[in-house]
């Protein structure tokens, strides 16, 4: 009887192949990913058969919550002199011009630092008289919470105000625009001619509303746009397979 020699097996597994796969997957995700943008409200867009993708540049998107809060977000060009930051800074200056024309008694003027802060925020939507106070909040998470309306905003004279988006109401008089209309006009008149061009073509303004939004709320936004002759725009939808 010879001794059965048990071969000692190496228990370690070769991880090289595994590592190869994970690196490949990682590369794939890194290249295809576009990061989720932080938005003050969560919106589930309604499904539609429309196939045209949302442009990722030169876009003014209007976020509409089911309760009627309105927020705006501006995207500039990806690869030209009119980057998002430049367009936003210009937008704020334009808007301040419009606002001060309408309210000459208490004009709002921004410092260089405030303009810089504004050019870095994504979606925004505060009444313009509080814009300065909002931009001066140093804590970024607190600023987001104030925008969402979870925390009150402390104004410079010590008052606490809860914010609810850009002030908007039914208005059919184009010569007396409300704040929302002023913002849209300010974006249209910004020095980014590409944004102006895409608004003219109907691709520059996109309304992003939740599917549970009552029509009366969406109608206010649409009607406001119609009044200032921006009657070509698009609605953001989620993909649905076409039924034959």
């Amino acid at each position: 009887m010879g001794k059965v020699k048990i071969k000692k097996k190496d228990t370690r597994i070769d991880m090289t192949a595994m590592s190869d796969v994970t690196v490949l997957l990682l590369t794939f995700f890194m290249l295809t990913s576009t990061f989720l943008q932080k938005e003050p409200i969560t919106v589930i867009t309604p499904p539609s058969v429309a196939k045209e993708p949302v442009p990722d540049q030169n876009l003014l998107s209007v976020l509409v919550s089911p309760t009627g809060k309105v927020f705006l977000e501006v995207l500039g060009s990806k690869d030209s002199t009119f980057k998002s930051e430049t367009v936003r800074a210009d937008l704020l200056k334009n808007m301040a011009g419009f606002y001060n024309e309408k309210h000459p008694s208490n004009p709002v003027n921004f410092t260089k630092k405030e303009v810089e802060t504004f050019s870095k925020v994504g979606a925004f939507g505060v009444p313009f008289q509080y814009m300065k106070d909002w931009l001066n909040i140093k804590d970024v998470t607190l600023r987001d919470k104030v925008l969402e309306g979870e925390e009150p905003l402390t104004t410079k004279d010590g008052k606490k105000v809860k914010l609810a988006g850009i002030p908007i109401s039914m208005n059919e008089n184009p010569s007396n625009p409300n704040e929302f209309q002023m913002w849209v006009r300010a974006a249209y008149n910004s020095m980014d001619s590409e944004l102006k061009h895409s608004i003219d073509k109907g691709k520059g303004i996109a309304i992003k509303a939740d599917q549970t939004t009552p029509y009366s709320v969406v109608n206010i936004v649409m009607d406001n746009l119609q009044t200032i002759k921006m009657n070509k725009f698009s609605l953001m939808t989620a993909l649905k397979a076409e039924e034959e």
């Binding site: 595994m18 539609s48 429309a50 089911p66 309760t67 969402e148 599917q211 009552p214 029509y215």
Partner: protein
Amino acid sequence: MAKDLSRQKKFETRIDFTPMVDMNMLLITFFMLCTTMIKSQTLQIMLPTNEEVKDEQKNKVKQSEAVTIIIDGTTIEQKVDGINNAQVSDPNAGMLFYYDGMPPTAQDLLKITNGELENPMKQIAFGSETGGAMPAIREILRERNKEVVAKIADLKKDWKEMKFSSNEEKNDSIYQVKAKAIRNDSTLKRPVVIIKATPSASYAHVVNVLDEMQINNISRYQIDRINTVDSAMMMPLKSKAIEGKK
């Protein structure tokens, strides 16, 4: 010397990749959770401006071509953006009303509300996402637009067989141009759809109905405001529906 060399410890040349894999997996998880794969789509619409239009500038719609669709919804209370009982529209409930031709005259309207004249308006319930109003309204619109739909179907067959060009892209673009020409062909019988929505109608339903315009190749449609004639016509149908429930 030779002895010393041979005694030198042999290094293990294999590197342990386990920590590397661990780290990669963590990174993958991070990217997977933080990315949006599905890009939103857009539906382009064009509305008229709010300016007053003179009568002679108006495009008169032929009576036989008009179809008016009215979307109605119900509101439910839901917790939205921090408000506990915000009024939102229920995307799974609602009614769709439609009628052909022009709205009735004031005299006819009175007769309709009294029940002396048959109400030209019909109604369908939206129901769940798949069943309910959408297939029904699609049938109705397809019937109204059948000349265009038939021509587009023929064109689509040619497109599938690559008859326009052997190049896929070229084939596609020729198809698009031809389809557009058919949709706007004034010699065919095409409906004009007027879409209206009540304040409580859900936005999802409005988009759904706009979708039907694309599906049925309807080129002439508009979003309009609801008026008193429409609500007066809806009244008898709504009250009947409430009675039926009892």
